[in-house]
Symmetry: C3
Subunit: 273 residues, 3 copies
């Protein structure tokens, strides 16, 4: 199924509308192209409904949100819902400020999401309505380990049931769950956390995958997560002695550009719980 | 003439004011430095007139336009006109939303442009006042081919005559035309469309070239287009087996950094129709 | 002391709040990670006080300032002062427009800075209240040379005394001064001026260094400046024949990622005047 999901992205070249932060936006654009999709960025309230209409899917990322763009997120999200376009939410930093938590909660109330992707602290914040996220990285106290994995899987399934969205919690072990099933994915490399925006890139790609696979959001989101993680492994294996996080950032996108559905099938490392 | 145009950029180091999108802005800054110019980005209505005044030329790009920056584009454009500084328009996504089309049309009415650079769908939108651009890429139905090239050349010359601007339509074949003559440029590589923002970079460079060559906007714009395309060829030839669109993005800018006017003269592949 | 300063960054992993321009923001994020810190970007007036509160230090950069973000800079700066978090000011383009000069002057009046880092033209503008900065690069007339170094050192010490901030003037020779002592640092490579944003990156890193070394802002700022300059040398030594400013940009961040406090101690080239 992961292979088929990826094939559909390459075949359908979905056009993805991104309302995203200005920190990692260029990487989001290039990673969408690398996986076979096409990006458009637009965040003005006067055009987002139209832009979403010509696209196949929408990616909403609240990093560097502001009073002007929050309204655009709501307008675009509702329009996408009306057109039955899948919408992905990346609640960057939810829990780090009231504005971020409140915006994420309002989006959850007013927009139906196909996938919500974040780190464990961000997703816990959404589930409880408040949080203690330290910046944009997951809180150490929240860390997903082999020991608490079953608990996190149960939490993810419950939150998926409540929201109707696929829940993707990414970290050392990634969990992608709907109400019934959870992919536990063990791809990736610790050095990926040294590259700003791998999460943002993954959310953009996830929007492309669910757009190209409208009937299989769980498998599509799991495929996107596996692509990102496996690309992190491939890219790591290329690094020379003097290459650091900046070269790694380029090599991850390069790896996605060259990845085939067959390579993904061989490289993906997951179990379903 | 292309060689001379490039020499003048390297010699004069023009300072270029950019009001551009936040997706590809870093590449615009680095490509301007690579070709010998100097960038400044500024988009607040309270300072753009002053910033344009200390610069030699202005590059207006409507990707990620918003209610705040549209006013800044108009103020800066008019001020540049008053000072006889060349202004370049990149109508990113014109035709994809009414806001983009209307903003581009308003800019055309209120500001005199030295060069308008876009893909064929964007330029057709400007010429007709409405369009069907799909996102930020050219519509397949609009594609420039050897078969319809004469028609597109005639269209570009007519639109150049109407606007008084040099018209640069970039794609597999690039057309750079004033009312009388059109450069048909066959540099570049198909993989350039896998890098987000090569068009934005080219518009920024075009502003530098016309600023350094105020009396020869046609040749200057053709030179900028040739530099970009030839850099795409040089960069492609460097790519290793695992290099994808992200490494390619870096190598294109690198190639411009190392390109000499002599190399351009040898590498440029064009005819005048 | 430089070695110890760098060790403290790696050990304490300070979380840095950045209100910065959208041109070089991605590099600021990745350079903070490379040196051992953690970045968060946030510029909305409704959340900056909270974001600054969860961080250890604040970096204010006025490149691409606008009417919305200027208020956020003031709110965040005052909140950081209240919490005794160190604040760094990067007055990008002060002197190039009244808005930039006035904003920088207002920030100096209302916020207490631990470090002010800019090129010589920007710092002179702040010291005199007006300036003739040409764009975002230093004016040639202002250039720091071996001949006028003692004068510039005296100027930096006097401005440090007046503001209570460490003054970091970067260029071919870098000067980092408090009221009593000035580090004159001769690291770096001329090609660094071909990479957009090395100054912005340095300001972000400086915030990390002073946050991790609250009792030694002078040494911390000097260490950050040395790290940047020495990384420029290491990165330059890696460049192949076809590598230009874009690859150099990546290699500089890579070099910081791999730099150890021991390497810094050996590589730093400075005297105290």
């Amino acid at each position: 199924m992961l292979k088929k999901s990826f094939e559909n992205v390459r075949k359908n070249c979905p056009l993805i509308h991104n309302i995203t932060n200005y920190v990692t936006v260029n990487d989001c654009a290039n990673v969408l192209i690398a996986c076979g999709a096409s990006p458009i960025m637009s965040d003005d309230q006067d055009e987002v409904a139209e832009i979403t209409t010509i696209c196949g899917g929408l990616n909403i990322n609240i990093g560097t949100l502001n009073c002007r763009t929050i309204g655009a997120m709501l307008i675009a999200g509702k329009q996408a819902n009306e057109l039955h376009h899948p919408v992905v939410l990346d609640p960057v930093g939810a829990g780090a400020s009231r504005l971020r938590t409140d915006t994420a909660m309002q989006l959850l109330e007013e927009v139906r999401f196909a996938v919500i992707r974040g780190n464990i602290s961000e997703i816990k914040t959404l589930a409880s309505g408040s949080g203690t996220t330290k910046g944009v990285d997951a809180d150490v106290a929240d860390k997903v380990t082999e020991e608490n994995l079953d608990d996190v899987v149960a939490f993810a399934k419950a939150f998926a049931k409540k929201t109707g969205a696929v829940i993707a919690i990414t970290g050392a072990i990634d969990i992608v769950a709907d109400a019934e099933n959870a992919y536990c994915i063990r791809n990736g490399h610790p050095m990926m956390s040294s590259v700003s925006g791998t999460g943002c890139q993954l959310s953009a790609m996830t929007a492309a995958f669910v757009t190209a696979n409208p009937d299989h959001p769980l498998e599509a989101a799991a495929a996107a997560v596996s692509v990102m993680g496996y690309a992190g492994e491939v890219a790591y294996s290329r690094l020379g002695e003097m290459d650091g996080n900046s070269t790694y950032r380029n090599y991850i996108i390069d790896a996605i550009y060259h990845m085939t559905p067959e390579m993904l099938e061989k490289g993906a490392n997951y179990e379903v719980r």
